[in-house]
Every structure is written in structure tokens, then in C-alpha cells.
Symmetry: C2
Subunit: 321 residues, 2 copies
Amino acid sequence: MRTHLITGGAGFIGSNLARSLCAAGEAVLLVDDLSNGRMEHVADLTASGAALFRRADCSDAAALLAAIEQAGVGPIDEVWHLAANSDIAAGVSDFNVDVRRTYLTTVATLDVMRRIGVGVIRFASTSAVYGDLGDVAITEESGPLEPVSAYGAAKLASEALIRSCCESFVRRADIYRFPNVVGAPATHGVLLDFVRKLKATPENLSVLGNGGQQKPYLHVAELIEAMQFIAAQAAAPYLVVNIGPPDDGVTVRAIAEMVRDAVSPAAAITYGQGARGWVGDVPRFRYSGERLRALGWPGAGGSEAAVRRALGEIIVQEQAA
Amino acid sequence: MRTHLITGGAGFIGSNLARSLCAAGEAVLLVDDLSNGRMEHVADLTASGAALFRRADCSDAAALLAAIEQAGVGPIDEVWHLAANSDIAAGVSDFNVDVRRTYLTTVATLDVMRRIGVGVIRFASTSAVYGDLGDVAITEESGPLEPVSAYGAAKLASEALIRSCCESFVRRADIYRFPNVVGAPATHGVLLDFVRKLKATPENLSVLGNGGQQKPYLHVAELIEAMQFIAAQAAAPYLVVNIGPPDDGVTVRAIAEMVRDAVSPAAAITYGQGARGWVGDVPRFRYSGERLRALGWPGAGGSEAAVRRALGEIIVQEQAA
């Protein structure tokens, strides 16, 4: 049994990861400031004693350290650093949001790891570090890295700091560059957005951008599986992996139609102008997927299946809300 | 006449840039926290009224904004953002030094630019963003970017944030990736280090690493010339340029011998172990130089000439000290 710290542990991906680690019998400490995460996402795990939870701002090293010490879980074997501003569009109006919540959480997490002697970090990064490379099949070596959102910039900044720490106290760092990830408990994203819009105005769904944006999607269950698969490999001290489905993705138009058909079949869909949904959006990207295949991951079911599965879950989630 | 703000304006490169801009009749405001820079580096410019100086911590947006407002220079046309921790090795023991002094100075500078409506930034970046790519001829598109020092990580983080701001209020950003830069007033670096060591112990010069490190050098006068040359081009809104000499550099061994011959010819030189001088050192890198040539810069005199010229200046500087 190993002991894991998950920063952002009450969030969308953190809570799913926690559930998976607990199911495998691992000891899990969750830290989250609950700005985006919710206690109810992990209530089952904390109630059963499978996981411990401490509320703290992970951009504050002293607060994070105190939370860990007060939890009394003993030595931590590895850190899954997921705490971040998950609302990319929010960083557009003020980049300080991502500087603090996406980058300074990484600084503080590494600072605490160094102080308490933890040498393993698994980091939730993103395709947004690449910026808009157009129709290139992106590999982990692709350049230049020109993020077009403060979120992507702060994730790239985090990767860079983690990399430099591999010269000193970090002995294993996994950098998982996520695609779009869907599933429940959804806290943000295009599916939740569309479902809520159609509940508010069942006769119309208005879409940001012209609907032509095409991106690869993973279901969160597939993502967790991939991360744990990679984490279990004997690998380089610093390993960057693009995690994605085995396809080039689905369009926003296809997603809009899928949500309409499921939630409000008679609704009209109206599209905006331009290829980008918002400032900082990357209208199209695709991963080569070569490294992930080379590592031997059996692969995911595909973007459309992931979106369809998540849509069903989100509809249930919103009915319960 | 345009008005320029130089952050880190009393530092090694900042003071040289200021002198050049003032000589061209431009209005110049220097801001520096004097942690590494010195008033005496710019005393001639401030005494003559050619430049204004304000002391402020450039990682504090409110302090930087107040410094600018109190200077009363009117609208600023462009910002040369040079404020950073120039002592790379210092960031090794504590990465927070570079987080604050190299990265958060960029955050605050951009924040102030956005607030007062400045859309042009020229940024002092570094070869350290590439990390250790070995013997590759590095282009601006080279990847992966894996900095091995907190300094390189913080510079890459800064580049990323600047890039993302090009989607909103920044309309022109130049990213100058410096090689090793030498000249006076030297505040750090291998030449100053060797000269001072030989003054302290004239019979022996002890070198960190095996002396095989080989890097390209520019004289600061050449660097300033290149930056201003690039700045004057009609270019892309976001332009990254590797600035270097037209050669593959000189070795630390050659530099050690040059300094010994000039300062204390009878001294013995002793070398350490290993290719790296210190944690975070990149023992060897070289630029392809293609983009700089394509922009039409006539080029520099070469690494050896740059080191020789700087050595003479530093010897004079240290005699006066």
C-alpha cells in the first residue's frame, strides 16, 4: 500500500482518481480549496474512511504543508498534482487567476515535496501548452510551444519548473498532457454548458464559434486508466505523454446536435462567428498518439463514445441537481 | 522620440541598453530594485537627465505602477523587460528566487502594461529555455523544451505568459533568447568569477567542472545592437529569435587560460569533475542562427573576440573597484 496526495482532490478528475486509488486499496489524502471542487464529489470516500480530506489553498505552501501534517497520514509516496483553475475562459479576462491557481499551486506543491522529501509527482498538464499548431499530428517533441491562453501558459510554466526540479529532489515526474476530458461530476466544459443552456431555453441552443472546432475527447474513466497505466511503467525520470483517444476528435457541431437530440430534440441550434469559441480557444488539434501506444496502453474507445457516455452521466447529474 | 521603460534598468544589460537608447535621443525610464543592479551603472544617464530612474520591485505590480506614475514620463511606447534573477546558480538552492524575481516580474510587468495600455514588449529570454539538447543546432522551433535550471524554467514560463497575452492586449512581443553575454559592468558570470578568483589566489585558478563546457558568447554591445535591429523590423506580433554569434562558442578551458594569461600568467589551473559546472548548467549548446541571419542582422564578431574584449573591460572594472 502506498500513500498518495491528490491536490485538487475534490475536483472533477481528482475525485475520480481518488475513487480509483481507494478501490485499489491505496491510502489517499485529498487537499482542495473547494473553489471549484465539492465535498460531495468525495463524500463517499471520506465517510467510509477510504480517503482523508483537508481543505487548503494549494498555492500557499505553508497552508498545504500544515494540511498534510495535520492529516497525519505518514510519509507520502507520490503526489498527483491536479489543483488548477479548470475554467480556461476565466483566465482570459485576468491572467492572474491562472498565475495563482494553475502555476503557483505547482510552485507550492513542489516546495512542500522538497521540504518533506517526496520525489514522485504526476502532473495534470494539457494540450493547451502547444497553442494552436493547426492540423499537425502533435508529438511530445512538437514545437514551438506557444500557448494562446493563460491556462496553457501556466501549465507550461508548471511543466518547466517540474522539469528543472528533476535535477535535484524530484526523481520521477510524469507529465500527462490531457485532451478534452468529459464525464461526471462535471464542473465545467462544453457538455455541461450545452445541457444547462437547453434547460434554461429549451427552444434554442446558442453555440460559441461556428461549430467547426474539432477536438479529441477522453472519458474521465479512460483518462484515469491511462494515467495509472503510465505511472506503473518503469520509465524515464521525466516523462511527457500526450494522452488522447485513437482518433482526431469530434466537432462542436456534432456535440451540439447530440446534446439537442438527448435533451430538447425540437431546439434550434444557432452558431456564432469564427473558428474560435472564445479568446484562448484552440479550434483544432490532434495528437499523434505514438508515445502512448509505444508505452503499451490498450487505448480508449474513441471521442464520440466518450462524449456520448459523458452526456448520459451529465444529464443524470443535472436532473439530480 | 519614443518613451521606453526598462525593467532591470540598472543591471548589466539594462544599463547598456539604456545608454544606447539615450544616445539615439529616446526618452528612457529605468526601474530596478537594485538587488543586482547598481545606481552607478546609470549615474551618468540620470545625472545628465537623459534617463529617469525609479527604485521599485518589479515583481510587485502596484509598486511598479506607482514608480511609473511618479516618474511622470507620459505614455510609454514600449517596455524592455530585463528584470530577473541574473544569478542562475542562486536559483538552484531555492527555486522560489527565480519564481519571484524572474517570473513574477514578468507577471507584474504585463499586468501594468495592460492597465496603462502599453502593447509592445521586448523580452530578455535565454538559451536556458531549451535545457540540454546536446549537440543539436538549435532553432526557435526546437523541442522539447526541458529547462534544467529554475532560471530557464522561469524564463520559459515568462515567454508562455507573454505569448498568451498576444491574444489580447499585447500587439508586438519580441522574445530574444540570449546566449552567454559578456562585457561591463559585469555583475556575474564566468569571466568576473575567474578574474576575482585569481585576484584572491594568484597562484591558482580552480574551475567548476572539467572545462569542456562550450558555449557561444556575445559581447553586450553586440547584443544591444541585435535587439535594436530586430525591434526595428516590421515583424510578426510574436517573434522569437535566438541571438548568438556566428560560431559554436569557446570552451571554459579556453576562457580560463585567457584569463590566467591576462591576470596571473604563472597560475596553475585545476579542473573539477564532470561536464557540468553546477546543477542546472548546460555544458554545450549551439544555435542554428538561421532566423537571425534571415532577419538580415550583419552579425557579431565571434565568441572568442567577445570574450577577449569583455575580459579587458572587466580587468579595468575590477582594478577600479
